[in-house]
């Protein structure tokens, strides 16, 4: 394995691990605050149990998120020192603000977890709300950095050297808004539906459990609207990609030739050697319509670009298909659940419960797939059009060793977390 490949793999593993806990850290606090708020309003003790149960789960998951995030902050320098040297002055500002958001989040999580009986009910609820808000804020700040890597603005180059920078323009680049929106919705959708799915599964076993019923409803309140909005936000992201990263768009669609009225492909196998995508269901003019809102718009295919700037087409195309496929299913199940909830005031019917249970992991899988589209689709660039990944990597040899070590540690941690959370859910049953 080459050094570059080892570094890319380690980065992908670390980020792919962290993002699950980050999404939980964004959405769980909101859910636990909602549960506590219901308890304070109604006096129904089920909601107190729920808030405290969720808080306990959040404490474990948050800690794993915090340590994996710490690893990432250092890894940027350990694996990509030349990227940091290049980009630090521009993207450091959102990173610093993120640091303060983490601080607020960690402080008030401490207040929340250890303050149940020490501070007034209102202060306690407020502490939870601050955790929820600062979690979302830290996501927005870190997304600013990633959006800048996709559509770098705020730097003037001359002869390969940066001559002037504008960190504010960099933070507010053309992808920031779309990516931040899509990421936040992803966090609420993935975590909301995952929690809903777990409790739906418990209800399938034991239908008369008020605890699981309350949990299911609250989780849906957070997850379902986000899952329904997600395809719309995804459309916004896709149009931004079409405008600013035409190669990524071509790769994620498996579009090899440049054509007017390009079709939308569902599934299919991009045959890179033959420069053709086989076996896809093609919806005529669909891509032109979706990407540019004009059925006759010209879509540039991969052939319009040098081979040496093509990203790996297969993972990007499959990643996109998986994300959109799972996203569609999540949206449909969410509509079904919300309609049932509004009509009958509670989730009934084994078919719906079963559908919710099946959807449990979909949001996280879609998230990993979506990040594959974004990050692998940007290759061979770390900063689109400006800095190549091969030029960003550390010169230290033997990167396979840390890659394998960190992979094993993440694997072990993931296994332990699953065991602990399962035991916790069982205990409350």
């Amino acid at each position: 394995m080459s050094n570059l490949l080892a570094a890319r793999t380690q980065m992908a593993l670390s980020l792919g691990f962290h993002i699950v806990f980050a999404e939980i850290g964004i959405a769980m606090p909101l859910m636990m605050v909602l549960a506590e708020w219901r308890w304070r309003r109604t006096g129904d003790d089920t909601y107190r149990q729920l808030a405290q149960g969720w808080a306990k789960g959040t404490a474990i998951l948050f800690a794993v998120g915090a340590v994996s995030g710490t690893v990432l902050s250092f890894e940027l320098g350990l694996l990509w020192p030349r990227f940091m040297q290049f980009a630090g002055p521009i993207v450091g500002l959102p990173f610093s603000l993120e640091g303060f958001a983490f601080f607020t989040e960690a402080i008030f999580l401490g207040v929340y977890l250890y303050g149940w009986t020490k501070i007034s009910p209102r202060a306690h609820l407020a502490a939870g709300a601050i955790v929820a808000v600062s979690g979302a804020a830290s996501a927005i700040f870190v997304i600013m950095v990633n959006a800048w890597m996709n559509t770098p603005t705020g730097l003037t180059m001359s002869g390969g050297q940066i001559v002037r920078i504008d960190p504010i323009a960099g933070a507010l680049n053309p992808s920031t808004l779309q990516q931040a929106l899509h990421m936040l919705l992803a966090a609420y959708a993935a975590t909301g539906l995952a929690v809903a799915g777990i409790h739906a599964g418990m209800l399938l076993k034991k239908s008369a459990a008020p605890f699981h019923r309350a949990a299911l409803t609250l989780a849906l309140v957070v997850g379902a609207p986000a899952a329904i909005l997600q395809p719309l936000s995804g459309d916004l992201s896709a149009r931004t990609v079409a405008l600013w990263q035409p190669i990524k768009l071509a790769a994620l669609e498996g579009q090899f030739d440049t054509e007017r009225g390009a079709p939308l492909r569902i599934g299919g196998w991009p045959d890179v050697a033959a420069e053709h995508t086989r076996y896809a269901i093609e919806i005529p003019r669909g891509l032109s319509l979706l990407a540019f809102h004009d059925p006759d718009a010209e879509v540039r295919g991969l052939q319009a670009f040098d081979r040496d700037v093509w990203p790996p087409v297969l993972p990007v195309h499959f990643g996109f298909q998986i994300m959109v496929g799972l996203g569609t299913i999540m949206a449909v199940v969410s509509i079904w659940a919300l309609v049932t909830l509004v009509r009958k005031r509670e989730i009934t019917g084994r078919a719906l419960l079963r559908a919710l249970a099946v959807v449990t992991p979909f949001g996280y899988i879609a998230t990993e797939a979506g990040w594959t589209v974004t990050e692998v689709g940007r290759q061979p660039w770390t900063v689109q059009g400006v800095l190549r990944t091969a030029d960003a990597v550390t010169p230290m040899p033997g990167l396979v060793v840390p890659m394998v070590v960190f992979a094993l540690v993440y694997l072990g941690l993931a296994a332990i977390v699953v065991v602990l959370i399962r035991a916790m859910v069982r205990e409350t049953a």
Binding site: V67, L78, Q85, G92, F95, G99, F103, A106, S120
Partner: protein
Amino acid sequence: MMAAFATIGLPEVIAGLIVLALNGYVLTGGADYGGGVWDLLATGPRRDEQQDLIASSIAPVWEANHVWLIVAVVLFFTAFPAAFSAVGIVLHIPLAIMLLGVVLRGSAFVFRSYGSGTRVARRRWGLTFAVASAITPFVLGVAIGTVASGAAANAFGHVGDRSFVDVFVSPWLDWFPIAVGALTLALFAFLAAVYLAIAATADALREDFRRRALLSAIAVFLFAALTLATAWRGAPQIMNGVVESPWALVLQLATGAAAITAIVALWTRRFALARFAAAAQVSLILWGWALAQFPFIVPPTLSIRATAAPDVTLTLLLIGVAVGAAVLIPSLRYLFRLALSQSDHAPP
């Protein structure tokens, strides 16, 4: 050196803020690591009580305390990207080991606190937590020692033209960095013992930690001497800074006074004073290191000025830190007050 002080500008201010963030980390997060060391070394009839006190003191605050390190890193790569890059390349191995320690310490701690596991399982997490707590600060100290000694900058100049061992291993696998690592560990353990002596409510337990604080004060003294002894050969530039510069004597005297005050206060059981003096001693050592390598970030080649980001970045960063601090300081005080308060608000 005096001339350098005449040019205090934005880059120097930000460098100072980084040391301040590290200072915050050492006094809070450092003590959390020290607590882990005492968990590892818990002995005697009150072994379980010792471990319980450590766990309950760390639990509410360790995540917040840990963010000081992240703030320091983020400020470092934003303001001095070229220096960060050099450190990231040359110190890859010790920093990666430190990260493994961070991961194992943090996760083992919550797994022990929240896991509903058996006693054996909890013991095992406890042991992981304690061992990782000892390794992490040691390796952090080794990394700092490598930078201070000049070996990091030197190795950076030879990336690609010397062997793997010469560039990526020998700079930190040396007596001076190892001495600094041991000193860091001793300082963190010392701080933790002093804090725990205050936190203890039972007299016997308090005496346990008072004894440990005194013992670790001796360890600090020994490792400080070892650090100085190895510095003559291993870090001559630091030695010059420590011995010859005009502020050096003042700083040395202040550090010594703080150390003696801490020991006397512990001896006479004036714990609040001991805590203040111990914190002052540790902070003075940190600032002594920073001033000794001034105006360099990675001595003897990468200076604060030469590696600083453009002024726009530094100005915005300063504004960001000011806003952040305005939110942070009252929040932190609130958390610490809560963590220390024993009284329970009556639940509704």
